[in-house]
Amino acid sequence: MNKQFDILAIDDEQVIIDAINKICSSEGYRVDSSIDAKDALEKLSKNSYKIIVCDIMMPDIDGFEFLEEIVKRKISSPVIMTTGYSTVENSVKSLYNGAIDFIPKPFTADEILNSVIRGMRYSDVQNKIISSPNQQDDSTIIYVPCPAKYFRLGYSSWAAEENTGTILIGVTDLFLKIIESIEELELYKLDEEIVQGNQCATLKSKDNLVHNILSPVTGRIIERNEEILNDVNIIEKDPYFEGWLYRIIPSESEYELKQLIPCSSDRF
């Protein structure tokens, strides 16, 4: 192990590697880069990185195959996916396969930076849980996994089917723990259409970072949780019940829920 890095950026375009390098270095992160997935895997076998930023469309091994390989090799570094072909399918598939975030290209400096910072914290949280599974100390973060009948999109949002055919949408506890504290919440209007894998709400944390919440399902908003707009703390207190964001009429829930991770698989 020669040099310690924080971030591994993988992209077949040098300009993007340079941009990520520049932006993240300005925040004090040490960035290593690979021009393709093969080289990245070699580097991963030598060094460890806190997070990985990876492009989907790459020659030889693409982003999805790279994700599979990471899971196979039990590399715990969280992966942020980016792509120029930013479709709902790509976004949802990335999150389903284990990526923690999906940023469509082209992105701004803030967008990549916020995602990287969240990734860093995610990495920290995971490490704390793994390093101290049984002993309780002050640094331990306890997060509540989502209820068994819920479905989640990556680790950020959840969806729960209701008996009436409508679907409730909210933010996971892990996501809230990672952004630490909410300062502001911005919701979409009633009757607006939200699309799976696309932005559906914006959270601003106390450190002035803006976080986009991606919607787990497609549908039309029929009710907003007005109480959380008055008191954002409700979300943090009870993210899975009192702290829901929207009630929507889904358009294709049957198909879309299959693309999500069932929360029952989180239990062990």
């Binding site: 300009v15 941009a19 932006i23 082209p106 400096a109 039309r220 294709e252």
Partner: protein
């Protein structure tokens, strides 16, 4: 050899061969029996004649016999024997001696009882005394190569006057005194039979040849020609020319085959057009995806660097202003690429709840720049209270973009106005409901895809009256009367029938409630009965199943332009595939695809236009889908 084989394998040649053989067989058998009966009747006639002659000879010599005047008898026999057809006349006595003969040398000669002429009676030990006429005649050839001869033997019976005559030559106990043997040459009869045989054979051959020629003429006309035309058409379709139609308008089965072939190629070309369209969209999608990926990478470079620079220069307000422009415009490019991707990605049609106004706005945003360049003003008058509607948003966007592009093309570069308006309207089914299926009582399909009225396949009906027959192409829109027909008014005994089976469609017990004329009806599968007045000027129609559903709500979208307009003769055909008024500029697919999409949503699209004033397209989309 191969040519011969080909000749035999052809339908026409086979038919001619079969018909020829059949004709030959029937005429042959007929001729055989005809000749047989003809010759036997000729022979019977000769036989009859010979018998009569024998009787005459016996009776005319009778008196001389009694007087025993041999010279006179000889004279009579000679005179008779001189007739050309009579070969010999002989009188043979009981002991077998020829006592009189037309040939003088024969007189006195003994006749052998085993000779042919005697055999009939003398075959048995005791000579027969009475024989029917058949047994007494014989046909033979005296010398093998000579003409046939008919011989007849007439017994001379003993009578009272014979044994009482002075000569006392005969005793009372004798039954038969002798026989008269006459032989007649059959040369003439044989010639006649031969002649009629020849005649019949010549007739048979000519009949078979003539029949073959007639059959081949009609086979060529009715079978070979249309089959060749069909073959040619299938070859044309085989090499990809789906626009080829058979012009054959005959009414027989091959004509029906030709029509159904035309219909099939029409359907095929429509399917191919759709395939072509979706293929085009798919390749456009792939292209857009590739372009998006390629453009998004350099755009990322611009956006990340500019936004990063923006972050780092927070205290330099002058620089900030300029950088903000770069960031803003790059973000705009990002949105354009995204909408391009959204537009291209529509391979799978999906119907969802959507707002028509939003779809129109999105369509406009795609082509807004093009309109501005051409100095085209866009007037939007969208009803904000429109409910959402279940449509394929992408397909609808394609419809609006196509219509707006068409409108812009019609206006040209000199500038003009395009107006789009939406409204919620409620319409009664009368005047707008499209009859898509119609059958006669015998379940024949009445929909004619060849004749379209305003883009919709018409209903084909036949009118039979004392003036003759005619085909009417009935307007498939309930309550609208744009029928295509040569006759304007149906009078008196006129009847509406199915064009295929000619079964009546008339409602005998029903009179039009408006004008009292007769009423006919058509069955609409699973949607009851459609009734209409036979009087064209009245135009009364009734469709209970649809009327009972009451008024329906529609979203109406009107798109007008101030362009060059569409000529009246073109107006009826603009929704047909490959019909284009743009010359080389368009494919002629746009409006037919639009029509298909609207029809798929159970909606209707109408067009009104005036040359040099502009064109208006009106789309009606039902709010709720029925069935």
């Amino acid at each position: 050899m191969i040519r011969m084989k080909m000749m035999v394998t052809k339908i026409g040649s086979k038919l001619i061969l079969v018909v020829g053989i059949t004709a030959l067989l029937t005429i042959g058998i007929f001729s055989y029996f005809n000749i047989r009966s003809h010759s036997s009747s000729l022979l019977a006639e000769v036989e009859q004649g010979a018998n009569q002659l024998s009787e005459t000879v016996i009776h005319s010599t009778r008196y001389d016999m009694l007087l025993n005047q041999r010279d006179r008898i000889n004279k009579i026999i000679n005179t008779i024997g001189e007739q050309p057809s009579i070969r010999t006349v002989r009188v043979i006595n009981k002991s077998g001696a020829i006592i009189y003969s037309s040939h003088q040398d024969d007189i006195g000669r003994m006749v052998d009882k085993n000779e042919e002429s005697c055999y009939a009676c003398h075959a048995a030990n005791k000579p027969l005394e009475r024989l029917p006429i058949k047994g007494r005649t014989r046909i033979f050839r005296p010398v093998p190569a000579s003409p046939r001869v008919l011989g007849i033997i007439s017994p001379i019976y003993n009578e009272e006057s014979c044994w009482q005559a002075d000569c006392h030559a005969h005793q009372k106990s004798q039954t038969v005194l002798g026989v008269l043997d006459i032989t007649i040459s059959l040369e003439e009869v044989d010639k006649q039979i031969q002649k009629s045989e020849m005649e019949i054979i010549i007739f048979a051959i000519t009949a078979v040849i003539a029949l073959s020629f007639i059959i081949s003429f009609f086979v060529r006309r009715w079978v070979v020609k249309p089959v060749n035309e069909l073959l040619n058409a299938t070859n044309q379709v085989g090499v990809g020319n789906l626009n080829y139609t058979i012009k054959d308008r005959r009414k027989d089965e091959l004509g029906m085959l030709a029509r159904s072939f035309n219909n099939m190629t029409l359907k095929l070309s429509e399917a191919r057009m759709q395939l072509f369209q979706s293929d085009k969209m798919a390749s456009l999608g792939r292209l857009a995806a590739g372009v998006a990926h390629e453009i998004n990478n350099p755009l990322t470079g611009v956006l990340t660097y500019s936004s990063f620079l923006l972050k780092r220069t927070e205290n330099n307000s002058e620089l900030q202003e300029d950088l903000k422009v770069i960031v803003r415009e790059t973000k705009r490019s990002r949105e354009i690429v995204k909408s391009l991707l959204d537009f291209a990605r529509q391979s799978v049609p999906k119907k969802n709840e959507a707002s028509i106004n939003e779809i129109i706005d999105r369509s406009i945003s795609v082509i807004e720049n093009q309109l501005t360049i051409n100095h085209i003003k866009l007037n939007k008058n969208l009803n904000t209270n429109l409910p959402t509607i279940t449509v394929d948003a992408n397909q609808m966007q394609q419809v609006f973009i196509n219509l707006i592009v068409n409108a812009a093309d019609a206006i040209g570069i000199s500038g003009g106005t395009i107006s789009i308006s939406t409204a919620l309207i409620s319409l009664s089914p009368y005047g707008i409901t499209h009859i898509k299926k119609a059958i006669c009582p015998k379940r024949h399909d009445l929909i004619d895809n060849e004749y379209k009225i305003d883009g919709m396949p018409s209903i084909k009906l036949k009118i039979i009256s004392s003036l003759g027959e005619d085909i009417v192409h009935f307007d498939p829109v309930y309550g609208r009367n744009h029928h295509l027909s040569k006759i304007n008014e149906l009078k008196g005994d006129a009847k509406v029938v199915c064009p295929l089976c000619s079964c009546s469609l008339m409602e005998e017990n029903l009179k039009c409630p408006q004008c009292g004329s007769q009423v006919f009806s058509i069955e609409i599968p699973s949607q009851g009965k459609f009734e209409a007045c036979t009087s064209r000027s009245c135009g009364w129609q009734r469709w209970d199943a649809v009327d009972n559903e009451g008024k329906r709500e529609y979203i109406e979208i009107k798109l007008s332009d101030s362009g060059c307009g569409i000529a009246k003769e073109d107006l009826a055909r603009i929704f047909e595939p490959f019909y284009s008024t743009k010359g080389q500029k368009g494919t002629g697919l746009g409006l037919s695809v639009i029509w298909g999409i609207i029809d798929n949503h159970n909606g209707t699209i109408k067009v009104e236009s005036e040359i040099n004033k502009g064109t208006t397209f009106t789309i009606h989309l039902p709010l709720k889908q029925v069935r």
